[in-house]
Symmetry: D3
Subunit: 135 residues, 6 copies
């Protein structure tokens, strides 16, 4: 159970309503999910986090579906229950099929495995790998 009340639209102050309206318009949905209703207890955080999500998750060099799958990968690694549910649903809406979801989880699991083999053996970074973008 949430540590704070979930703020519904009808009881929200104007600055919160403005964010809710923008979430619905941007996402073309008619409801607000609980994450935002919890953040609305602190309008400054709500406004700041929504602004960031809106900017970062917009189409860019990566498409929105790829971004959602990366979000799921992080959330699964951290075991954030809410985030796994919300971003899996979002990725599904954007076109992630069951087979894509299975492969996503397979890669996440494999990476978590080999991360620990690298950690445990203390493998030195190959000089060939350093800094592909270092200019």
């Amino acid at each position: 159970m949430a540590l704070v009340p979930l703020i519904e639209y009808d009881e929200a102050p104007p600055d919160v309503r403005a964010v809710y309206d923008d979430i619905r318009a941007t996402r073309k949905v008619d409801w607000i999910n609980n994450f935002w209703k919890a953040l609305a207890n602190d309008p400054a955080t709500l406004t700041r986090v929504w602004s960031q999500v809106k900017q970062v998750m917009a189409p860019g060099a990566l498409d929105p579906l790829t971004k959602e799958m990366i979000y799921v990968a992080v959330s699964v690694t951290n075991n954030c229950e809410y985030c796994i549910h919300s971003h899996t649903a979002a990725a599904h809406t954007k076109g992630m099929t069951p087979q894509m979801f299975h492969e996503l989880l397979a890669v996440v699991a494999l990476a978590n495995e080999t991360n620990r083999l690298s950690n445990g053996y203390r493998v030195d970074v190959d000089s060939r790998f350093r800094s592909p973008f270092a200019g």
Copy 2:
């Protein structure tokens, strides 16, 4: 410095050489990176992990570049230095541009942020999010 010696091809037993040959053929490269040279101290692990990487990272419902970026996302979340270097280099080889890398990191960072907001407020999962693939 690695906790085990790095096994070079010339000093490797036949089962290790067979894996090294398959890595080079599959990846179309002429060298073996340190991760495998460390694992080669335990040929059973080397064989098992390579077999798994080969299967999981092959093209499927997700393309190889998307899979590499998911690998980077997990490695950055876990802060595995070796893995960040090796999989960023691999993603670069497969076509990840600097701008794609920046956006990848931006999503990873954002997800780590909102994971903690969800954790901290103990936000309840919306019933609408449950089980898009539950059949």
Copy 3:
């Protein structure tokens, strides 16, 4: 559901009762929370952990409220449900207001975000930052 029975005062052996009495006296409360009732299955652990908590969380160079908020910060980062609930409640008792809680979570979330940007870009530590306490 806990993996071990929760040991109530009336059924506890003398060494466990002594710790329970000390917890109630130190905290000026009339009940024992489930964490200690679970640890009581292993009196050595109960005694050792309580002794440590009592020493570390006592007023010192940091005041008890600051210490509780640091405890919440760690528990949110690790997503320990029990610990988030118990230490948020403790911080609330010691004077944490809703606004302080919101700002605490905002800092925790931000730190988790920028930790991954530092990880991902493999930023070198500035020489000016090294060892402010190195003597």
Copy 4:
């Protein structure tokens, strides 16, 4: 070694220079640390992250020193080397004494310990702890 070049002021485009100027003015320092020089490879991220840091770390219901110590607590839990160095230095500048640093680390370590005892025994949340801020 950083995966991207560190962008110095003299070679930076105007939007990056504007952020650098604001960092120096806000913090009353005459230099820019490597974190921002790495982020400057993606001006959108630089601008967004700095704006967030500036807002979240400003004085509010929590004072800036407490916020820095919370930042250190998260960074130590996640083992982000860069972040531990930079935020310990920042907390030192804001008044953290060696004894405060020792107590901070002692609480962080203790919390990481008891988080796992709670996890491992699967301790149920006491009903008395639920939702001090739930309204």
Copy 5:
């Protein structure tokens, strides 16, 4: 609630049934736990993961009980609820007594504590510790 349906034996395709049969024969049990029923939605993952578990958890230089306790140690550190329950039950079946379980959790908790003291103080690795197996 699982994100995918749990596949029962009677509705499973032949390749899934073959894995289920092997799990039951190898473990000498007459039922299949939910983990495998979830993985069965992707037969390739089911087959690959079971093959790996079967090989890694078999008796070797370490006995099966020690391996299960290591599994519990990782799962508690990561706070994987399902894994804590399933591997604690498995370790119990293989002979882990309550006192062994208490000591296991005490070590896991202590290690999580001292990991953060090492992280936080940025302790340099003693040259005497390097590479006991480095050949």
Copy 6:
């Protein structure tokens, strides 16, 4: 480089020397490793942590080698470089062979993998697994 000076025996106050003497006597070694030299900056922490390590790592229902391997498992999962080196060396001293080390890392890696498959599919805990020690 450590954030605090490493305190050598000759410059240590009497309470620190007493702990150093006890470490050497208990472990039958003639030197003190850097972890304790860093903690010695805060004698209260040094005394408390050593007391805890001495109690938890002593022979009990689990033998000292098993305890050291559990310590390594946690340290690899958390990627604590210092701790991986120090506890691998300690386990080696207590009899861990290279093959045992390889199998230890293989289990740690596998557990980190399947933890994420359980997380990602949100697998429900089987009722048969609940509470083997619940009394």
